[in-house]
């Protein structure tokens, strides 16, 4: 048994990967040495957003020296299908193209340069059709990717009649490119027996395996997927890593040679989906005490040309439509609209941020019209213990108010506000603004089926330990956390444990590393495996020491001691003994999150294992001459449960916040009417640099009991902090209003320097 004090002691900061990263020794996909004879693939994609393929001429490219094969959909032995949730997305276009960047052909050549040149010799004649890029236009034409969904609680229609204040409006949020620094890619190596090994930069090895098997028309056991780690994912490699793997596997299958494809940045930006842009409508009703009585929202999700993960993303938008507030009457409807953009996909927050932005816009709108600070409305409507969400779940161990009031007190909101008032009185051309942003984020895959994981543990006869899980390390620190889980269970040092690559032959049927739940699910499965081994070891010691079974054994400090301190043995010696006694020193652990459920017919249930809470105070300064701005500070109180690795968790808060601010401010995807992405390189699509992030980021660790469903009671931390960034939008609004009280606020994010200037002088 692992004692409580032992767990506490193990809760320390540690990053297993850092020494490798700082020396450049970490191996990513493109750093693997290529086998001799490796071929290189490249996609020829559509330059037209919607149209019919009239003709194709590949003859010039095919006869070029060094070109091995040009693959079209006709060469696919299995299904030409990569759709994850709904089978609506071909790997390679057949008769029609549906977005710019849709793959049509795969060129396989001896070098990347030859493949590139060959791609320029291909001529595809496409008869263009009318393009739709606006989700509301798609909605009007009933172009849906999946059925509309809704959540309903109470009765909004009648409640609005009793409201003192009712406001209606529109809010829009833009898409967001992931800009994982490591581009998409995969490397397939044929084993000669019809099976293929694939190295993939993916968050979902099983998704890759399943997709490749389907495309090749082989069973899943013929496809092995191996991932050492990836250079960032943020959701962009949850589902959308699969097509590239399918392409190299297909090319490898057809040529019987190793085939590699690493996308160039421009290809990655053109061909892959992004965070979903949303256009939304809201109606909010408040009583005279500023209690929100009723809220209605309609959400028009720009899903792009195929479903991808859009239906699931849409679901989470509704789950988070009321953010951290209790509203008794709620009606929210959401539509996944099919347009001619690349299929949009998962991105940290997974639709949650888009939902939360709308309610915050509605509150800001109401506050401005009533003439009170938005935070007054926010504060009066925070969730309490037992508050019911529109999806039927009730809060447990709710920390919404605790976070809010601790943030206000700890960072002295009164002083902050009076400082800003004084500053704005003293400065003509620069103005400061402040906004509070509470968050409440549900942890679990909203698709209950996916909430399970497995892990494999080997204790070797010398006492060293190897562990495999389904988790993918992508910077979130899950490797360190997995090692901590094993170390704390066995009572040994982290350095005695090796974390293996994530491989579908060792851990099968995995869920992707996503939904912030990777450490919880895989950690719990790992704990299960460790406990099985511990239980076998314990049985051995009970016999050896001849002690009652009830005697507690403590695994700590590489020693196992009976609680009465009468017996002890070194870990190493115990393992040798177990080995000599033919004890099984390997175990496979399994975990399925208990309690969670959701009924898609009644649209009610208990979809989340628990919720994560927090509050951020954002302060900014706007240059009212030039329209640019900076963030002075973001001060946060965050509910970590009891963090198992404070430094890693802090990194998630700071990084998530920066990404959220980027989404709300400078990151702007620009498509023209023909569906052409104008911001198609990193010169035109800007993500935060070191000068763009807040000058000060303060994070207070709200230590709470945590949840039994969180690994070591350390709550999930991956996605929630992104939504603190929403505060940046409203802080900017408030600074603009300090300069021009009549300014038009459009609630169209991102709030670029352009929008700020146009608003200042509106």
């Amino acid at each position: 048994m692992t004692s409580n004090s032992n767990i506490k002691k193990r809760k320390k900061s540690f990053n297993i990967d850092a020494p490798l990263h700082v020396t450049g020794r970490t191996k990513y996909l493109d750093d693997l040495s290529e086998l001799a004879g490796t071929l290189f693939a490249k996609v020829y994609y559509s330059k037209i957003a919607y149209g019919h393929i009239e003709s194709m001429d590949t003859s010039k490219a095919a006869t070029m020296a060094g070109v091995i094969q040009i693959i079209s959909y006709k060469d696919i032995p299995g299904e030409n299908q990569v759709g994850g949730i709904i089978p609506d997305e071909p790997l390679l276009a057949e008769q029609e193209v549906h977005f710019i960047g849709m793959p049509i052909l795969i060129i396989v050549a001896e070098t990347e340069l030859i493949a590139h040149k060959a791609s320029q010799l291909i001529e595809v004649n496409i008869q263009a059709k009318e393009v739709i890029i606006d989700p509301i236009e798609a909605y009007q034409r009933k172009h849906f990717l999946s059925d509309p969904i809704a959540l309903k609680m109470g009765d909004t229609d009648s409640s609005f009649l009793d409201c003192e204040y009712v406001f209606e409006g529109r809010a829009e949020s833009g898409g967001q490119e992931h800009v994982y620094l490591e581009p998409q890619g995969a490397y397939a190596i044929p084993n000669g027996d019809g099976s293929i090994k694939i190295y993939s930069s993916t968050q979902g090895p099983t998704a890759v395996q399943r997709t490749v098997a389907k495309v090749l028309g082989v069973s899943m056991n013929k496809i092995e997927v191996d991932v050492n780690r990836i250079g960032g994912g943020f959701g962009g490699k949850e589902d959308q890593a699969s097509p590239w793997a399918a392409m190299v596997a297909l090319a490898s299958f057809l040529t019987n040679r190793p085939v590699k494809y690493i996308l160039e940045r421009g290809e990655d930006l053109q061909m892959t989906g992004k965070r979903h842009p949303y256009r939304s409508r809201y109606k909010i009703g408040l009583d005279k005490n500023y209690k929100i009585v009723a809220f209605e929202g309609q959400y028009f999700q720009n899903g792009g040309a195929a479903a991808d993960l859009s239906p699931a993303v849409l679901g989470r938008t509704l789950f988070h439509a009321t953010n951290s507030y209790f509203i008794p009457n709620v009606t929210v409807d959401a539509y996944s609209c099919r347009t001619n953009l690349p299929p949009n996909t998962a991105f940290r927050g997974f639709g949650g941020p888009q939902g939360m932005y709308v309610i915050e816009a509605a509150i800001h709108h109401a506050a401005r019209k009533i003439g009170i600070p938005a935070q007054l409305i926010q504060e009066r409507n925070l969730l309490e213990e037992g508050s019911e969400f529109s999806y039927g779940q009730k809060t447990e161990a709710c920390e919404a108010k605790n976070c809010w009031f601790q943030a206000k007190n700890r960072y002295d909101i009164g002083q902050l506000e009076s400082d800003i008032k004084q500053y704005n009185a003293d400065n003509k051309y620069t103005k400061k603004g402040l906004a509070l942003m509470p968050i409440c984020f549900g942890i679990s895959f909203t698709n209950t089926m996916m909430n399970n994981a497995r892990a494999l543990v080997h204790v070797y006869s010398d006492g060293s330990v190897g562990i495999s899980t389904g988790a993918i390390e992508m910077g979130q620190g899950v490797s360190s956390k997995m090692i901590q889980v094993a170390a704390s269970n066995f009572g040994i040092e982290e350095r005695q444990i090796k974390l293996e690559t994530t491989n579908t032959t060792r851990v099968a049927n995995t869920s992707p590393s996503a939904a912030s739940a990777t450490a919880d699910l895989n950690g719990k499965a790992l704990q299960d495996a460790c406990k099985q081994i511990i239980s076998r070891l314990k049985k051995l010691l009970v016999t050896k020491w001849d002690i009652p079974k009830s005697n507690v054994l403590i695994f700590d400090n590489n020693t196992i001691t009976s609680k009465d301190n009468q017996h002890s043995i070194l870990w190493k010696d115990l393992i040798r003994l177990a080995f000599q006694n033919r004890i099984n020193l390997s175990a496979k652990g399994h975990y399925a999150t208990p309690r969670i459920n959701f009924d898609n017919t009644t649209r009610k249930g208990h979809p989340f294992a628990y919720h994560v809470y927090g509050t951020a105070i954002t302060t900014c300064t706007v240059d009212c001459i030039r329209g640019n701005y900076e963030f002075d500070a973001v001060q946060i109180v965050h509910d970590f449960g009891t963090s198992m690795n404070r430094a890693v968790d802090l990194g998630q808060i700071e990084g998530g916040l920066a990404q959220g601010i980027g989404w709300m401010t400078m990151e702007e995807l620009i498509y023209n009417e023909a569906g052409v992405l104008k911001s198609s390189n990193l010169a035109n699509y800007k993500i935060p640099d070191i000068y763009s992030v807040p000058k000060e980021v303060a994070v207070h660790y709200l230590e709470t009991a945590g949840s039994d469903l969180a690994i070591l009671k350390s709550k999930a931390v991956g996605e929630p902090p992104l939504m603190y960034g929403i505060g940046a939008y409203f802080a900017l609004c408030n600074a603009i209003l300090a300069y021009n009280a009549q300014a038009t606020i459009t609630y169209v994010a991102p709030m670029t320097a352009e929008k700020v200037l146009m608003s200042l002088y509106s």
Binding site: D17, A18, P19, L20, H21, V22, T23, G24, R25, K27, Y28, D30, D31, S33, L113, H178, V179, Y180, L181, E182, P183, R229, I230, G232, F234, E264, R265, K428, Y429, M474, G475, Q476, I625, R626, E630, G651, E654, G655, G656, L657, A658, Q659, K678, N681, L682, A683, N684, K686, I687, D689, I690, Y691, S692, V693, V697, T752, A753, E754, L757, M758
Partner: protein
């Protein structure tokens, strides 16, 4: 044959001179620490150090190897992350580990190289300075705060000893491997660095060519001018500042002479791209590129600069404001090379000002940039030159607005009146840098901003700004 030192190894290669240095490092030399991310110098994950032999030893600068032509490595010391590794972590590496400045790790080698390069390039250091050295390194995971903490720790450690930083000191304190000490003599053995080829495409730092047409450059025999001595040097003489077109933004930034020619220009350089790109981008390249939004072009237009163009030993002078003939069209004859740039030194009465607004405040392309130079004598505006970028097909010298203001008393009424003249001279279009309406408004704002710093009783800008 291109010869250089890569980390601790002499390299002699007959690889195509136009390939990107990063490809050579990763593919030919199998050094995989430098990462390929964007191929346009926009992220710094491929950052390397380029050491050049000078009179005072080897001078190291950070550059992005993804758009560095292999030929520009000739005679230099190229340092990748592998060349900084020792048996134990350097204090820079350790600071990044201790501050948890690395998450997915893909950007990390670039940060370590830039941070280490800062120590190599400066005798005295500051926190603001080291943060500036990583202004071209993008991280998508950390939000930078942990990296800032690492950088602060590095500075605190270095400043424990107040003696000047030198290669010897950095070696002694294990910031860099010992082999750095012998690099000067090893470089001396492989000089000269100037290379001549039969190529026709003139190649400076490569910062635009390698972004616009990387594949073509791979197979192009280029005419490298980056190290051409005739196009180097900064001189102040007879009331003029003259400098070579192959001087980089970075070299002008560091030049004490140039600071005399353009006082208080630090804020300007900080607005121009990133450290790595400034270290590569030549001023000549910025001018002949003819981008309507080139920052240095706008700045030099407002300085009323003159170009010296050379062909076969013959030279002609041309006012920069006459150089641009249309979108990406310049008055440069076949075989002619932009050799030098010259502008008049400011007097005590001269006011010079530069403004730039972009989507991201730093390390971005301007939506609109604006520069002015004028003299203010008894309240009268004299010798005024205004230039604005991003509002037309060429970098725009504002002839009419400049003429309108000449000889008049600077008042709010005058500026207001000038705005309507300004509007007649600009014709912005909507693109990725903003809508036409926005750029027009921004041009007005940046025009007003030219005069904001001038203290004069009858200038009440609030009135102008609110009421125009």
């Amino acid at each position: 044959m291109i010869t250089f030192i890569l980390n601790n190894q002499l390299v002699k290669t007959s690889a195509a001179s136009g390939i990107a240095l990063l490809d050579f490092i990763r593919k030919e030399k199998q050094l995989k620490g430098s990462k390929l991310v964007c191929k346009e110098g926009e992220c710094g994950a491929c950052s390397i150090l380029v050491g050049e032999l000078t009179e005072d030893g080897v001078f190291y600068q950070s550059m992005t190897s993804c758009i560095t032509p292999l030929v520009n490595a000739q005679g230099k010391h190229i340092v990748t992350i592998e060349g900084l590794n020792m048996e134990t972590l350097s204090p820079v590496q350790k600071a990044m580990v201790d501050a948890y400045g690395t998450q997915c790790g893909f950007c990390t080698p670039g940060f370590v190289v830039s941070l280490s390069g800062y120590l190599l390039a400066n005798e005295t250091v500051s926190t603001a300075g080291i943060i500036g050295a990583i202004d071209g390194n993008i991280c998508r995971c950390t939000g930078y705060k942990s990296i800032e903490r690492a950088a602060e720790n590095i500075i605190a450690q270095v400043q424990q000893d107040l003696s000047k930083i030198s290669i010897d000191r950095l070696v002694a304190e294990k910031y860099i491997p010992t082999y750095f000490k012998n690099i000067p003599e090893r470089l001396l053995a492989i000089q000269p660095i100037e290379t001549t080829t039969n190529g026709t495409v003139k190649l400076g730092g490569g910062t635009d060519l390698y972004v616009q047409r990387p594949v073509a450059m791979y197979e192009t025999e280029a005419m490298p001018i980056y190290d051409r001595s005739a196009m180097k040097g900064i001189e102040i003489k007879d009331g003029f500042c003259t400098f070579g077109a192959a001087e980089t933004m970075g070299s002008l930034y560091r030049s004490e002479l140039f600071k005399k020619a353009l006082p208080d220009s630090d804020y300007i350089f900080k607005l121009l791209s990133s450290t790595q790109i400034r270290n590569m981008a030549t001023i000549g390249g910025n001018l002949v590129n003819a981008s309507p939004i080139g920052d240095f072009t706008i700045l030099l237009l407002a300085l009323d600069s003159t170009l010296i163009l050379e062909k076969d030993g013959n030279r002609r002078s041309l006012a920069l404001k006459e150089f641009y003939k249309g979108y990406k069209q310049i008055d440069l004859n076949g075989g002619e090379v932009l050799e030098k740039i010259r502008f008049k030194l400011p007097s005590n009465l001269t006011k010079f000002h530069f403004e730039k607004v972009s989507q991201r405040k730093y390390f971005d392309i301007a939506s609109v940039n604006f520069a002015s130079k004028f003299e203010l004598k008894d309240g009268l505006i004299q010798d005024i030159h205004l230039a604005v970028g991003g509002v037309g097909p060429i970098p725009t010298y504002l002839h009419k607005t400049s003429a309108f203001l000449t000889g008049k008393i600077l008042t709010e009424v005058l500026i207001k009146a000038a705005i309507s003249t300004l509007y007649t001279e600009i014709a912005p279009i909507s693109d990725a840098r903003g809508s036409a309406d926005y750029k027009r408004l921004l041009a007005r704002q940046l025009f007003i901003a030219q005069f904001l710093a001038i203290e004069q009783a009858d200038l009440v800008f609030e009135k102008i700004i609110i009421s125009v």
